[in-house]
Structure formats: structure tokens, C-alpha cells
């Protein structure tokens, strides 16, 4: 509310926003300009979930949104997905309105809960978007087989979700989000409910999948190491009102070059420190600043 234009340093050259035209936006995966979302509660109480959001996600780029609970990162993702509408400002996805992008199926989405339909088999869950949009049976079968292979669940096509572990369910959800080969993946804390070992393995698998598909990713998380490990750029948000306070370029190489070794690399720790300082301010870092609701695992 107080700062309509946040003090975003915009380290990425073309993320400076404002000057770009609508035609230039068409090459960007996501462009958000002056986005605001105010929730009106009962008795007219207003809560500003997001204000003055300026964000550009380039085609093929992996961007994490990180911040403490209540900073509006999930709300921002929902706005991009057109599951909710901004009260001010505009969001364009591949140059289209977010609504048109949703109707055109320009993005795939995965949530914190896998959200599988429990009465459908793994294969039937993955083919759901294809079925909804009228793909014929043989195309569907071929694509499902491909995706099952990609997420390493080829032997589980006929299983039901309740027969799978949480990590496997989440992999099915990711396969489903990839079903229509979207150029943009929206992920809302997809690994948030998983244990740490599963989570690290899933992160490495996501990097592999991303290297194969080359899709842009907007990834909401509250884990600093997760954000650094996965992203090209980490967007730091802060609450009350939800806004972008910093953006940090992570230079750890392309998705294909990242592996488990990276987690013990000095450059990785440097990235973690940079994000942590952006979240808490430098003075909080020596004490490993675990506070303020941000996961520092």
C-alpha cells in the first residue's frame, strides 16, 4: 500500500519492466505489471495480499518465489494461473491475458497437495487434461506412456493414488502438469508436504525434467536451499503488504549441469547466504536467522 513501486533493484537486464511494449511481452513467459490483490473480508475489512508487483519471467527461465507465510507468493501464482483475479494491474502470459492463457492451456500447474482424482488410476490421472481437451485415445496412450517413463513410474500405470507414497503421488501430479507440453509450469510448493530425503530427490528429478522440456517455471517455496538449488533467479517477497523486495540471480549453471554434488558446492552456499540476507537483512545471518517463518533447511 505504502510503496506502489517497490524498491526492486531488478538485477536482470530485461526485468526492468515499464519500458517494454506488449509485443515484446509476447516472448516473455510471464509479465506482471503493477499487480495488486486486495481481499475484502467480512465487515469490509481489507487485506492487501499483494501490491505493486512487477515481475518478468523469461521463456525457459526457472524463477522461485520465496518469502515467509502471508507474503502473497501463492496468491501471485494463483493470479498468474487465473485461478484468482488481481484488483489492479495486469498479468500477461506469453503476451496473452492470463485468462486467455488459461483457456489456451499455456501453462501446466502443480499444487502442494498432489490433487489426484482418487477414483482414477495413475495413467487416467495423467491423461485427464488430454481427455478434457479432446485428444484421441491413441495419442493419449502414447503421451501417458512417455510421461510415466519421464517421472519413473512406468510400472505404476494401473495403480490407484492411495497405493502410492506421497512422493510418487507428487510425481504423478508433475507428469499430469506436463501432459500438454506447456511452455510454462506453475508450481505451488509441490514438495512442501514431502520428507527431506524425498524432497531432495524430487528436486533433482525436477531439474532433469526441466532440462528435457525447457519450460519456464514459476516455483513457490519457503525453503531457501530449494529455491537456490533449482532456480535461475530467486524473487524474494515480504508480507504486510505482500510485495517483491529483492531479486537474486543464482549462477549455478543450467538445469542439466546441476546435480546432487551442487548441494555441497561453495557457490550453492553463497546463493543460500545471499537469499537469506535478502530475506532477513545481513545482521540476521550470523545467527543462522532461522526465525520469521522461513524454512532454512
Amino acid at each position: 500500500m505504502s510503496t506502489p513501486n517497490p524498491s526492486t533493484p531488478a538485477p536482470h537486464p530485461s526485468a526492468s519492466g515499464g519500458a517494454t511494449t506488449a509485443t515484446a511481452d509476447a516472448t516473455e513467459a510471464v509479465v506482471a505489471r503493477g499487480v495488486e490483490r486486495v481481499f475484502t473480508g467480512a465487515k469490509g475489512a481489507e487485506v492487501t495480499a499483494l501490491t505493486g508487483i512487477e515481475l518478468t519471467v523469461h521463456d525457459g527461465e526457472f524463477v522461485s518465489l520465496i518469502g515467509p507465510s502471508g507474503c502473497g507468493k501463492s496468491t501471485l501464482l494463483r493470479l498468474i494461473a487465473d485461478l484468482d483475479e488481481p484488483t489492479a494491474g495486469e498479468i500477461r502470459v506469453f503476451g496473452k491475458t492470463s485468462r486467455q492463457a488459461r483457456i489456451d492451456q499455456s501453462y501446466g500447474i502443480a499444487f502442494q497437495q498432489a490433487g489426484l482424482l482418487p477414483w482414477r488410476t495413475v495413467a487416467a490421472n495423467i491423461e485427464l487434461p488430454l481427455q478434457l481437451h479432446g485428444a484421441d485415445a491413441s495419442t493419449r496412450r502414447a503421451r501417458v506412456a512417455e510421461l510415466l517413463e519421464l517421472v519413473g513410474l512406468a510400472d505404476f500405470a494401473k495403480h490407484y493414488p492411495d497405493q502410492l507414497s506421497g512422493g510418487m503421488q507428487q510425481r504423478v501430479a508433475i507428469a499430469r502438469s506436463l501432459a500438454e507440453q506447456p511452455r510454462l509450469l506453475l508450481m505451488d510448493e509441490p514438495f512442501g508436504a514431502l520428507d527431506e530425503m524425498t524432497r531432495e530427490r524430487m528436486q533433482t528429478e525436477l531439474l532433469k525434467i526441466r532440462a528435457e522440456t525447457g519450460a519456464a517455471v514459476v516455483f513457490v517455496t519457503h525453503s531457501i536451499p530449494e529455491a537456490v538449488y533449482l532456480s535461475d533467479r530467486v524473487v524474494v517477497m515480504s508480507p504486510r503488504p505482500g510485495r517483491i523486495t529483492d531479486e537474486i540471480d543464482v549462477r549455478l549453471g543450467g538445469a542439466a549441469e546441476r546435480g546432487e554434488d551442487l548441494r555441497e558446492d561453495a557457490a550453492f552456499f553463497a546463493g543460500v547466504t545471499a537469499v537469506r540476507e535478502a530475506l532477513h537483512g545481513p545482521e540476521a545471518t550470523p545467527a543462522a536467522g532461522a526465525a520469521r517463518g522461513v524454512d532454512v533447511r
Binding site: D82, R102, E260
Partner: protein, 291 residues
């Protein structure tokens, strides 16, 4: 640190099932599947079925001994052997009476279920309809419907089965309506979001998500309703109407001091209730697999 992690060996915390945690009508939670461990199916069956049968046999023998040894008169307690004799002797009559009552209960159950589902759909679509129906359903749920039997007999004539069918259908309606409505409202937000992200049409949402989500709840309602329908159809016969059902047969036998025969008809009633219950439970179990 394990760099090459093994595939598919994940110790993920099992996600809590939100449908179980929902407060409200207790019987509405779809039953968890029983997964017997170890042993073959035959051994499991024996372990499951033999103990209650053994108990039943012991009880019957015990009652028989007590009745014979103590010389208890039949109007206090009929001996199991006498009841069995009557059951064999009157088998065709017991069967006919069971079918008559069973037919009333079945028709009532179907009518009640259809109306229950239709009204639940209406209530789930339009809030005002829900607001209108809620107090009416609450009233119907607490009124002992069978008590209306004499009134209905006067209304529809004492030779008509309509009164009994009506009573059974009103009794069946309530649980079907309540559970189906709950089921229709049970669509998880994440599924709703997902279908919206796919730009699914309203009819796709209904067909692929809302109805499958609601089905187990409907069948739970149907299971509860099936027992109520049998009880209502049978008890309604105690208050008059045509003399061909189990309730009529029980009162007639008891009135003519044929206590063992009355008990034989009671056994028919028990079997009828069991058939309804087992069938609907089976359907419910099949419908709520993988939940």
C-alpha cells in the same frame, strides 16, 4: 549423503484423508478398507466367520437347555427347536411374507433414494433451496414416521400398500438426502482449482469430479436408508393395512398364542434386514475403493 538415491522407496508421510476428519454425521465416513495380513483367503475367512458362528451355536444350545430344563412356557420364551420346527413347517408363508414386506421396503427405498438425490442436487446447486429444505428435512428426521401409519391407512385405504411404501420412502429419504448433499459439497478445493486451470466446462466438472466425489457418500446414505426402509415397512404393518407382510404375520401369530411361529416370522424379518444391509454395504464398499 546419498547421491544416487534408490528409486521408489519412499517413506513419505501418509496424507491425512480429509473426508475422515470431517465432523458431522458419523456414519457418513466411507468405511476404511480392511486389509487382512498374512494367511490365505480361506484362513482369513475361517478366522473371521467361525468365531461368531461358534458363539451363535453355543447361545442357541444354551437357550434350548435352559428352556427345557427349567420348563419355561412358550409364551415367555419359545425354545429354539420349536422355532426351527415352525420355520420349516411355515417356510412358504414366511417366504411370502418376507417377499411382501421386502417389496414394500425396496420400492420405498428406491423412491426415497431418487427423491433424496434429486433434492440434494437442487440444494447443492441453489442455496435458497437448501435454506428451504434444511428445516423440513430436520423435522422429517426427528418425527417417528411410523407413527403416521394409522393416519396414512385412513388416507389411502386399509387395503392399499401405498401407506407402507410411503412410510418406507420417507424414512429412506433422510439419510440419502443428507449424505448425498454432503458428498456433493465434498469436492476438494484443489480439484476445483485443477479443473479451472484446465478450463473445464461445468458439465465436465460435474461428470468427472463432482459426481465421483459424491458417489461413496450417496452409497453410505443408501446403506443407512436400506435398514430404515425395512424396519419402517415392517413396523408400519403393526398398525393395520393388508395382512400379508411379516409385521402382520408376527402380530397374527402372537395374537393366536403361536409364539414359536411368531418367532419364525421374526427370523424371516432378520434375514430380510440382513439381505438389504449386506447388499448395500457391498455396493458401498465397491464404490469407496481407493479413497
Amino acid at each position: 549423503m546419498t547421491s544416487a538415491a534408490p528409486e521408489r522407496v519412499e517413506a513419505a508421510p501418509s496424507q491425512a484423508d480429509p473426508t475422515v476428519a470431517m465432523p458431522g454425521l458419523e456414519a457418513s465416513a466411507p468405511p476404511r478398507r480392511r486389509r487382512p495380513v498374512g494367511d490365505g483367503p480361506l484362513a482369513t475367512f475361517a478366522k473371521l466367520v467361525l468365531p461368531p458362528i461358534a458363539l451363535f451355536v453355543v447361545l442357541v444350545v444354551l437357550v434350548e437347555l435352559v428352556v427345557v430344563a427349567a420348563g419355561i412356557p412358550p409364551f415367555v420364551l419359545a425354545s429354539p427347536s420349536a422355532i426351527f420346527d415352525q420355520l420349516v413347517q411355515y417356510a412358504p408363508q414366511v417366504l411370502a411374507a418376507t417377499l411382501a414386506t421386502g417389496l414394500n421396503a425396496l420400492i420405498g427405498l428406491l423412491i426415497g433414494a431418487i427423491i433424496g438425490v434429486l433434492l440434494a442436487i437442487a440444494a447443492s446447486v441453489a442455496r435458497p433451496i437448501d435454506g428451504m429444505l434444511a428445516p423440513v428435512v430436520a423435522a422429517v428426521a426427528v418425527v417417528p414416521i411410523v407413527a403416521l401409519a394409522p393416519v396414512f391407512y385412513t388416507l389411502f385405504g386399509s387395503t392399499s400398500e401405498v401407506a407402507r411404501i410411503l412410510i418406507a420412502s420417507i424414512a429412506a429419504f433422510v439419510p440419502v438426502f443428507l449424505n448425498t448433499l454432503r458428498g456433493l459439497r465434498q469436492v476438494r478445493p484443489v480439484h476445483r482449482d485443477l479443473m479451472r486451470s484446465y478450463a473445464a466446462t461445468p458439465s465436465q466438472l460435474t461428470r468427472l469430479v463432482t459426481i465421483p466425489s459424491a458417489l461413496p457418500h450417496f452409497f453410505t446414505g443408501l446403506r443407512i436408508a436400506s435398514s430404515l426402509a425395512v424396519i419402517s415397512a415392517l413396523v408400519a404393518e403393526y398398525f393395520g393395512g393388508p395382512r400379508q407382510g411379516l409385521g402382520s404375520a408376527i402380530t397374527t401369530a402372537a395374537a393366536s398364542s403361536a409364539y414359536a411361529r411368531a418367532w419364525a416370522f421374526v427370523i424371516g424379518a432378520i434375514l430380510l434386514g440382513l439381505v438389504f444391509f449386506v447388499l448395500t454395504s457391498l455396493i458401498e464398499r465397491i464404490a469407496s475403493r481407493h479413497r
